[in-house]
Structure formats: C-alpha cells, structure tokens
Amino acid sequence: MKNKDPVVYVVDDDASVCLALERLVRSAGYQAKAFESAVDFLDHGLSGQPCCLILDVEMPELTGLDLQCELAARGISIPIIFLTGHGTIPMSVQAMKTGAADFLTKPCDDKELLEAIDQAIEKNRREMSEKAELDSIQKRIDSLTKREHQVFRMVIKGMLNKQVAYELGISEKTVKVHRARVMEKMKTGSLAELVHLAERAGI
C-alpha cells in the first residue's frame, strides 16, 4: 500500500458498481469504504484522515447533489468526485459550482478516476494541514493576555514601542516586556514572522 492514511469513500446505489469501484480504489493502494446510500454514508461520518468521496449522481431518495448540499450544510469539507451515467452540462456546472472536485461520466477510465482521486486527496490533505496550522496560530493568539493582545495588534501594525507605550499609557519598558512575551508565546523570532502569522490568522 502506498499510503495507509488516505481514505476514499464510495457512494453508489448500484451494489455491483459500488463494489467494483471499491475494488478499483483498493487496487490503486487506497483504503476504500463503500456505501450503497447517501444516508448510510452520512450515518458513518468521516474518520479525520485525508479523504475524498466518489459519488453517484443518480440515486433514489437522497441524490448525489442532495448529499453534496447536505454535507455543505453540516460543514463537512470533503472533495467530491461525481460519477454519472449521463452527465448533462447544467448538472455538472451546478456540481462544480458548489465545489465538486471533478465530474466524470460512467463508465469511466481508471486513469482518469485515479488521477481525480489523487488530486482530490492532495487537495484535502492541503486543506487539512492548512486548517491545522491556522488552528495552531489561533491557539497561540488565544493564549495571549488581554494586554499582550493589545501590544500584539499594535506591533504588527508597525507601531514603535514608544508609540505603543504612549497609546496604552504604560512605560516603554513594560511594552518591551509584553512584546517579548508575545514573541515567546507566538513562537516567533522576528517581527516579520509575527506579521506573517497575523496575516495567516486573518488579522
């Protein structure tokens, strides 16, 4: 197996197709989890590994597009590769607009599908690590005291210690102490890095 971590979910109401796709995914070295209905998949949930979803569009009850909406509504972020027996332009446009990773017609070539899977997993991995990084920055920002947070905000705006001291009505010496604590807590060595972190956190 190439990588133990990523999981490819397969949802198709046709049991044979579902099984065949699951086999194809496994043959490419991915872990695969197959479901014969959108509801079964929703009940199962995600395990937190990098993943993507191969989703049949035409399904009774909850269709592939319905599932896409439902996942969005639940705030579940997973790249989706749609499969359809007869893909129409409006349908694919809608799916892609609402964030589908790819839209393939059945029967589809393995190369095409596996390439789409690779890209989707890579995309998901990127998103996850980005989210983890953002979470870590946010955690560090949250660890700042109120005063340190004020100093942090002013410093990243480019204010000098003297200006910060004046603005906050404290001594320059105290500002230096706060500033040192901010750098320590944010785990940064330079102002440039600090500004970069703030930008990453959307401040």
Binding site: S16, A20, L24, H86, P90, P107
Partner: protein, 645 residues
C-alpha cells in the same frame, strides 16, 4: 406697743444709719437669714449682702431723701442659689430730722413669692387657652358668654366683642331637635359634663361640625358659677367619614349588583347546559347514524367520539379505537404512513382545514381507500378543542379510477410518442451500470495483478462479478431486442404514406409548441413496403424528433421540418426528413447513428441508433447529409414490393 408689733410682724424690717450700718432689725428679718437679731447691729448692710445695684439705690435715697419702692423684686442668695428665687415688695424710706437731713433708712421687705407664682401660673393657663387649637367658650351660670378664645373667633367669624354677652345659641344651625339641647342642659345642671357632636352655623351662614365637651364650673360650695365648652372642629373628619360611608354604600351596592348578575349567569348556564345536553343527544343520534366514519380527536390525540360507521369501513368497533389509541395508526397503509404523519403534524401546527387520501388495511386485510376531510374545532373564544374528521370509504370509486388510468396508460403506450425517449433513457442507464461495473472491475483486477502481491481469491471474485455484470447487460440487450422484435418482425404490407401522415400528426403538437412548422410532401403513387407499422413509425418519429430538436436550437429564421416520400427507383422508396437547424458537424456525420452518440445535453444517443437498427432490419439504409442552405437531411430507404406480390 409699736415695738411689739414690729417685733411680731411677718414683714422684714431693718433700721440703718446713713452709712447703711444696721442699727436694729426685727425678728422676722433675722429669721429670714436664720440669725439672731442681735447679730446685725453695727454691721454694714453691703458687707453682709454685697449688691452694687442695691447700693446705688440706697445711696440715691440717702442723698435725695425720696423713698424707693419696688414691687415683686426677685431675690436670689448669691451663695445659695439652691434656695430658689423669691419675690419681695420693697420699701426704703428715709428717716429725716426736722431740717430734712437724712438720719437713717428704714428698709421693709415683704415676701410676695407665693402671690407672684400664682399669677405666673394663671398667666400660663390663660396663654394655653388663648393659643389652644380647640375652641374654648366660658359662660356664666345663665349661659351668657364671658370668654371666647381666638380659635372661636377664627372658626365662627364672630369677634370677641360680638360674642361676649350673647348665648351660644347664636351658633344654632337648626339641625338638631329641641330634645338634643334639653339633654345637654339637664346633664350640665346635674353638675355633669356633656359630650357630643354639634352641627353649628358660622356667622357667614356656613355649617360646621364640632365635637364638644361642656362642663360646669363650680365654686367651693358646689354651686355652678360658670360653664366651659371645649370644642373641636371635626368638619373635615366628618366629611371624610361621610365620603367613606358613601363609598362603602356604593361598594355594597356593586357587590349586590354583581351577586345578582352572577345569579343570573348561573341560571343562564344551567339553562344552557340543559340545552346542550338535549342538543348533544340529538347530534349524537345524527352522528351515530352517518354513513361515513366520523370522529373527533382531542388536542392530545385521544378519540372523543367515533361514529359506528367505523366498523363497516375498518372492521373495528369504536370502542376498539378508544381502548387502543394506536390502532388507527396501525391500520394506515405503510406507504401512506408518512403522508398521514405529515398531514397530522400540519393539522396540529397550522390548525386549518385539510384533506388527504390514504389507504388503510381493514380487519380482513383488505385495502380501503379513505378520503379524509378534517377541520380544527375551536370554541368561540378560540380555545382549541381538537380535530373533527370525516372519513369516506372511496375504494370502489378509486378502483374505477385506477381502471380508467390503466386504460389511458395503455392508450398512450399505443401512441408510443412518450415511450421512445423513455425507453432509450432507461436502456442507456441499464446498460451503463453493468458496463461501468465491468470496466472498473477489470481495471481493478489488472492493477491488482500488476502489484507485487495479490489475493487470488479476490481476482476470482472480480472475474465472477464481471461475468455477472455481463449477463446483466445481456439481459438488458435481450429486452431491447424483444422491444424491437427484430427476429420475428411481423411483416405486413404497409401504405407508407398513411404511416408517415399518422406519425406527423402525432409529432405536430410538439413541433408546434416549439414554433416549428411541419410539412409533408408525398408522391401520389407510392408503392407498398413490407414491414412492421409500429417499428417503422418509431424509426421515422425518431428522425423527426431529432430534426425538431436541431431546429429548436436556432434562434431565428425559417423553422420548418419537411418530410418527403418518393419512389427512388422501381425497387426502392426513399423518405427524407429535412430540418432547418444548424446542420451537423461534418466530423460526426458518420457517427450520429451510433448508439450513445449525442450532441444534445439531454440526449441519450439512442434515437437515431434505434432508427438505424429498424431500417436495417427492414433491409433499408439510413444516412445523413447537410444541406447548403442550412440544416440537415436524414434519409432512409426501404425496399418496395410490387402490387402483385
């Protein structure tokens, strides 16, 4: 004699020389200072009682020879203030010789302290009466006013002068009967105090109320000398009391009124209740005999009433439903349960009339169609009382409807117009699934085999799946064949012109809706062809449908479909379907009759393929060409038969 008198009088007497040395004092004088009279002679007055002011006065008398008198002069022992203040009448009289020269002074002092204190006491009493907030009137024994205090003047408006000498009856208001005054006088005459309330009249005529105590004043012998009246103005208090009294009476009246109203209401209610009981019996009789199954459900879902007709429809008696509230739900057809639940929820939330159609399985297990009409029941004040519903068994009606529907479906089946698209779509999907499964399985197997290690059992499984899917696809194909009945086309003689005309008639509506005209151009003496009417018509309609779609894509210009049928040669008939669309891309001109080839977003790529199959099965050819002026011509040929055949 005089000596004796002086000696025993209460008046303090001292005889002093012009330098105020004592010459002689009497017993009383010495006693006042608690000394013996022999103590004083030879001593100076002001050595004993130093007092600058007195000394000045003494000197003035000695010098001028005029006597000095003082009335009630206060005296306090300088060294003994605890002995209190005493009041003295003074007389300091000079004793002169014949030449008028002052030879000495006679000082006589008489103690008037008790008198002064009495006067002060009287003054205090007087002031108290004068400043009293209550009216004080003093009359003589005859009732003539001798004294009134300022409060009397202020209250009655009579001045003191006007009042004195008159009798208090000037204040009479006339509100009290003579007995009232008689009682008053008799009480006083008996030497007792009278107490009561008067209504009196002021000088200006206004009436006022006062609470009075009138007492006789008696002398030592018990004779009545005066009468004193002490009176308090209680007008305000009485007004308040009267007001309170009025309110109390008003309140009592209201309570009485309300009590009467309630009594009336209770009577009305009792009456209404009786009417309701009677009405209930009437209505229940009506409800019990209805043909439909009526019921009333309380807001908490319990049945309040179920009409006996329920047994005819469901097989269960009303009491069965009362005993088992879940029974109704159990009877509802599984497929209609969701529908019912939604309806029930809507009714409870929106509280508006509603109606649905659902099925129940009755006691015998038969399906019954129920037309359910219900409305919320509310009291006049809006209180929600639940749901009143009527369930009608429309099973018989439903059966005839279903029968009619079936017939209509068959009719439309016969017309085929709708099914052409439906069949192709279904077939495409049905073929697509096994094909997709086969492809993925095969590709998976290939990949497994290419990897370093693989599970041979899994490869076997995959191959089994491929075989299964292949069979599944074959079944679909066989179904398609059966539909086309290629193997055993019941060949019949067909008048192609009539077949074309009929197909055009079927398609005309669709084309018309898309603003496309349709024209038919037929040779008058077309030969007969041998074949299946329905299949050939389907092949033609697929071509027309394709032309309509292609033309519909065009925004403007000529929009027309022309169908022509001609004898191409002695053995062949040729049918052209010419559209005025955008034409066909030269690159795909060859491919358009291949299955699953489509340029339309909604297309399945089946229509033209089926047409090709049908034409081929009839021994003909099919092809497509573009026309220089725009649009395309789809043509098929069919072999003809001679009239003689």
């Amino acid at each position: 004699m005089l000596q004796t008198i002086l000696e025993y009088t209460n008046i303090l007497i001292a005889y002093l020389d012009p330098q105020f040395n004592f010459l002689l004092v009497n017993r009383a004088y010495a006693a006042a200072d608690e000394r013996d009279p022999s103590f004083f002679p030879g001593k100076n007055h002001f050595d004993l009682y130093p007092n600058k002011e007195n000394e000045r006065k003494f000197k003035t008398v000695a010098k001028t020879g005029k006597p000095y008198f003082a009335h009630a002069k206060p005296f306090e022992y300088a060294e003994h203030p605890e002995r209190g203040v005493s009041y003295w009448d003074w007389a300091l009289i000079p004793y002169k010789d014949s030449q008028g020269k002052v030879m000495g002074l006679v000082l006589s002092l008489s103690d008037v302290t008790s008198r002064i204190e009495m006067e002060q006491e009287r003054f205090r009493l007087y002031r108290a009466v004068e400043q009293s907030p209550v009216t004080v009137v003093i009359t003589d024994s005859e009732g003539k006013i001798e004294y009134v205090n300022p409060k009397f003047v202020q209250l009655t408006g009579y001045t003191r002068k006007e009042a004195i000498g008159k009798k208090p009856n000037v204040l009479k208001s006339g509100k009290h009967p003579p007995e009232f005054y008689k009682d008053l006088w008799e009480t006083i005459k008996q030497g007792k105090s009278w107490q009561g309330e008067f209504c009196n009249k002021k000088k200006n005529g206004n009436l006022y109320w006062e609470s009075a105590v009138i007492s006789p004043i008696k002398d030592e012998k018990g004779r009545i000398t005066h009468m004193i009246g002490i009176k308090e103005d209680i007008t305000t208090r009485r007004q308040k009391d009267q007001e309170l009294d009025r309110y109390k009476k008003k309140l009592e009246a209201l309570v009485e009124e309300r009590t009467q109203e309630l009594k009336k209401k209770i009577q009305d209610l009792e009456h209404a209740e009786k009417e309701i009981r009677e009405a209930e019996i009437r209505y229940k009789t009506v409800a019990d005999f209805t043909y439909d199954w009526e019921y009333w459900k309380s807001p908490d879902g319990a049945f309040l009433y179920i009409s006996p007709a329920v047994e005819r429809i469901s097989g269960f008696k009303p009491e069965n439903y009362m005993e088992d509230p879940g029974l109704f739900m159990k009877l509802i057809h599984p497929e209609d349960k969701a529908l019912w639940n939604q309806h029930d929820k809507d009714m409870h939330e929106k509280k508006i009339p509603g109606e649905i159609l659902f099925r129940i399985k009755n006691r015998k297990g038969e399906i019954r169609w129920i037309e359910h009409v219900c409305r919320p029941v509310a009291e006049k004040d809006g209180t929600y009382l639940g749901i009143r519903a009527s369930n009608r068994d429309i099973t018989a009606q439903k059966h005839s409807e279903e029968e009619a529907l079936k017939q209509r479906q068959e009719l439309s089946h016969i017309s085929r117009i709708a099914t052409v698209g439906e069949i192709t779509a279904a077939l495409s999907h049905q073929l697509n699934q096994p094909l997709a499964a086969i492809l993925s399985n095969a590709q998976a197997a290939k990949r497994f085999l290419e990897s370093d290690s693989y599970d041979i059992e899994e490869i076997k499984d995959i191959l089994s799946s491929i075989i299964e899917e292949n069979l599944r696809a074959s079944t679909v194909i066989q179904g398609l064949r059966a539909l086309l009945r290629k193997e055993d086309i019941p060949m019949k003689r067909i008048r192609i012109g009539v077949m074309i005309q009929e197909a055009v008639n079927i398609m005309k509506t669709d084309a018309h809706l898309k603003n496309i005209a349709m024209r038919v151009d037929l040779d008058s003496d077309l030969p007969l062809v041998l074949g299946d009417w329905n299949q050939l018509q389907q092949a033609l309609m697929n071509l027309i449908s394709n032309g309509v779609d292609a033309t519909a894509l065009k925004d403007s210009g000529r929009k027309e479909i022309v169908i022509t049928a001609r004898k191409q040669d002695a053995m062949t008939i040729r049918v052209d379907v010419e559209d005025s669309g955008t034409g066909i891309d030269e690159k795909i001109l060859e491919k358009i009759f291949e299955p699953f080839h489509t340029t339309k977003p909604w297309g399945m790529g089946m229509g033209l393929a089926i047409s090709k199959k049908i034409v081929a099965a009839h021994g003909g050819h099919i092809w497509a060409e573009n026309v220089p002026k725009g649009g395309a011509i789809l043509t098929f040929t069919l072999p003809t038969i001679r009239e003689s055949e």
